[in-house]
């Protein structure tokens, strides 16, 4: 053969080789894609069911793994060797982890809960707004029951006066953020739950974003403004809400917006505004600090909140539509499946608890959504924008003026100045005698409730309780009439808020009673102690009880 024919043959041979290699490469690539897909599938199955596969899926997983195994030269499991245990583990997977069976065992064996109920608890996130008298017991039982995530919202720190009822906190935690204190305790109870901290007070601007990642909200707050805000947010985001409250010896509890539907959908549950469309008068709103509260009373309501939350979660949170109106596949079919084990959802109700009445519990049947509700009816005016823009002023809606400062500066006397004044008066009494001293002394009117007045008060103080002043002018008018003319009046209360309102009332009464311009109508004769008795303890007399 000629030299050129040799080269040509060589070229042909090479071309053939390249083609064969290309075919082989294509084949290998195809195999790689398939193997990667199978590996992904196996990983996804694993992830979605958290190493606990329903038995129906087992065979598919095995098939996937077998394919991969075969290509890698796996020849079947060996008997009686250590390697077997690894394969044994992959052969049988339970839906719950071993420690979950132990931890939740007592509720797992109840037909009302069962495996399905526990799986639902484990996939549900709950937001607890307020970590006080209600939030502490509620969060405790929710954590114990094994929900997926608990969010805790509170901007306060632990105080000594909390400890008789806020059982998640403790003496060493005084001064600590309530949320931090709570998480520490909750985690030690159940480390399997994920805890999210929000060390701040709830505001309209942050509410929507905060609530969005949770499936269910608990209102454990202590103020009407937050109650309306929380309810409005839950309606906008279509979340069920368990709302409770307590004061003195009474408590209230209701499950709102369940079923949670968009505004205008009449099948949705009523919201807070459907039950209480008008807020209470601002001056009638009493805090636990002002009205008092018995530990077990608020404890009962918090525990009931956790119970209602668990019932809702286990029955399947009935919101098949996500916020954009698309069907959330994972929730479809839940309610039907649960009917066998869980009781049917009853119509919404308001539970009333009263420690001193018989019967202590009363359940009132609520209506469905109000036709004209501004939050959840077809004519609703509350929108997401109205929350985030800040145009909805909940404080204004509830009639609150920012911390009571209704008196001008020079109508108020500081605790130190008052002490100095009294000291000087005493000196006058000792040096000049009571004829001079007498007319100079002031009349002290203490407007706290009698129960508080009896705890501790200034020696010369007379008690005209705020509740009486609000109800009727008579007690105050009588007290004023008995005073000689030109007598200074000093009004005092615990914190320096109620005393301001009382000063205004006294001035108003005196103006009505006396002639204009006369001594009786001289406003400057009536003052209050700024900061109240608390300021007195902190600045003048540390022995004076603070409570």
């Amino acid at each position: 053969m000629s030299p050129t024919e040799d080269v040509d043959a060589y070229v042909l041979k090479l071309r053939r080789q390249v083609r064969a290699a290309e075919v082989q490469l294509r084949d290998l690539r195809r195999q790689l894609v398939q193997a990667e897909k199978q590996a992904d599938e196996a990983r996804n199955l694993n992830k979605n069911h958290d190493r606990g596969l329903p038995f129906a899926q087992q065979s598919k997983r095995l098939a996937v793994l077998r394919n991969i195994g075969q290509e890698q030269g796996y020849e079947g499991h060996t008997n009686g060797t250590e390697d077997r245990s690894q394969y044994a583990r992959s052969k049988r997977r339970w839906p719950l982890r071993k420690e979950e069976y132990k931890r939740y065992g007592r509720q797992l064996i109840m037909p009302e809960i069962g495996l399905e109920g526990q799986l639902r608890l484990r996939s549900c996130s709950v937001l607890v707004v307020g970590v006080g008298g209600l939030g502490c017991p509620a969060a405790l039982y929710l954590a114990g029951a094994g929900v997926s995530t608990i969010g805790l919202v509170d901007g306060d720190t632990v105080e000594e006066s909390n400890l008789h009822r806020q059982i998640l906190h403790s003496t060493e935690k005084i001064g600590m953020s309530k949320v931090d204190s709570a998480v520490e305790q909750l985690r030690s109870l159940n480390p399997l739950v994920n805890y999210v901290s929000y060390r701040e007070h709830l505001t309209p601007q942050i509410a929507l974003q905060m609530f969005d990642r949770y499936d269910l909200v608990l209102d454990c707050t202590d103020h009407p403004t937050s109650r309306y805000l929380i309810s409005d947010t839950c309606v906008l985001l279509q979340k069920p809400l368990v709302s409770a409250s307590a004061l003195r010896t009474e408590g209230q509890l209701m499950v709102l917006n369940n079923p949670s539907r968009a505004a205008g959908d009449v099948t949705g549950g009523p919201c807070y505004r459907c039950v209480f469309p008008r807020p209470p008068p601002a001056e009638s709103v009493t805090s636990c600090g002002e009205g008092g509260i018995l530990g077990p009373v608020v404890g009962i309501m918090g525990v009931l909140q956790a119970l209602e939350a668990i019932k809702i979660i286990v029955a399947g949170i009935s919101n098949p539509f996500d916020a954009d109106g698309n069907i959330d596949i994972s929730t479809v079919g839940r309610e039907e499946a649960s009917n066998a084990s869980a009781p049917r959802q009853e119509s919404p109700s308001l539970l009333l608890f009263s420690a001193y009445t018989s019967p202590p519990f009363r359940s009132v049947r609520l209506r469905s959504r109000r036709k004209d509700c501004v939050a959840c009816s077809a004519s609703a005016t509350i929108t997401r924008a109205s929350l985030t823009s800040g145009s909805l002023d909940y404080a204004q809606f509830c009639g609150f003026v920012n911390p009571v400062s209704v008196l001008e500066k020079d109508s108020r006397i500081s605790a130190n100045d008052y002490d100095a004044q009294q000291f000087m008066l005493e000196w006058f009494r000792q040096t000049r005698g009571s004829e001079v001293y007498g007319p100079m002394t002031d009349t002290i009117i203490d407007v706290r409730e009698k129960v508080q007045f009896d705890l501790c008060h200034f020696d010369r103080a007379i008690n005209v309780p705020r509740s009486e002043i609000l109800a009727d002018d008579e007690p105050l008018r009588r007290a004023l009439e008995e005073l000689p003319a030109r007598r200074q009046i000093t009004v005092v209360c615990r914190l320096g808020n109620d005393s301001q309102l009382a000063v205004r009332k006294i001035r108003e009464l005196r103006r009505r009673g006396g002639a204009i311009g006369s001594a009786e109508t001289d406003d400057s004769l009536v003052m209050d102690i700024e900061g109240g008795l608390r300021a007195w303890t902190r600045n003048v007399d540390p022995e004076f009880p603070e409570y």
Binding site: H223, A246, V364
Partner: protein, 118 residues
């Protein structure tokens, strides 16, 4: 109304228990009367947990009756209250039904202010 004037001149209140002392509430109204249960700030305002009034009385008139007996109650308490009759929430403002609802002897009315504290 003349009917009301008659009842207020005679002492129509036959049973009421003071708040906040421990004790049981009157569980049965005398014949021809309905019971009003007061909760929370309503109980503090009237200083009792329950009271009876003569029946029949149109539900729409109830607040007037209470205001007459406890001046200022409408504005300071009742305006924000939930009202129930025999454990059913009712709405006096709704056109249908409740406007014509008449309280009968033996009925139990709940005056429930919102409690916000916790």
């Amino acid at each position: 109304m003349q009917h009301l004037a008659q009842t207020t001149s005679e002492k129509e209140l036959t049973s009421s228990s003071p708040a906040p002392m421990p004790g049981t509430m009157s569980s049965r109204a005398p014949p021809g009367h309905f019971t009003v249960l007061y909760f929370a700030s309503a109980a503090s305002y009237v200083k009792k947990t329950s009271e009876t009034f003569e029946a029949p009385l149109p539900a729409a008139k109830l607040f007037d009756v209470l205001e007459k007996k406890y001046p200022g109650m409408k504005e300071k308490v009742l305006s924000s209250c939930a009202l129930t009759v025999n454990l059913d929430y009712i709405d006096l403002e709704e056109d249908s039904g409740e406007g014509q609802l008449v309280l009968q002897p033996g009925d139990e009315v709940g005056v429930i202010p919102p409690v916000s504290s916790g």
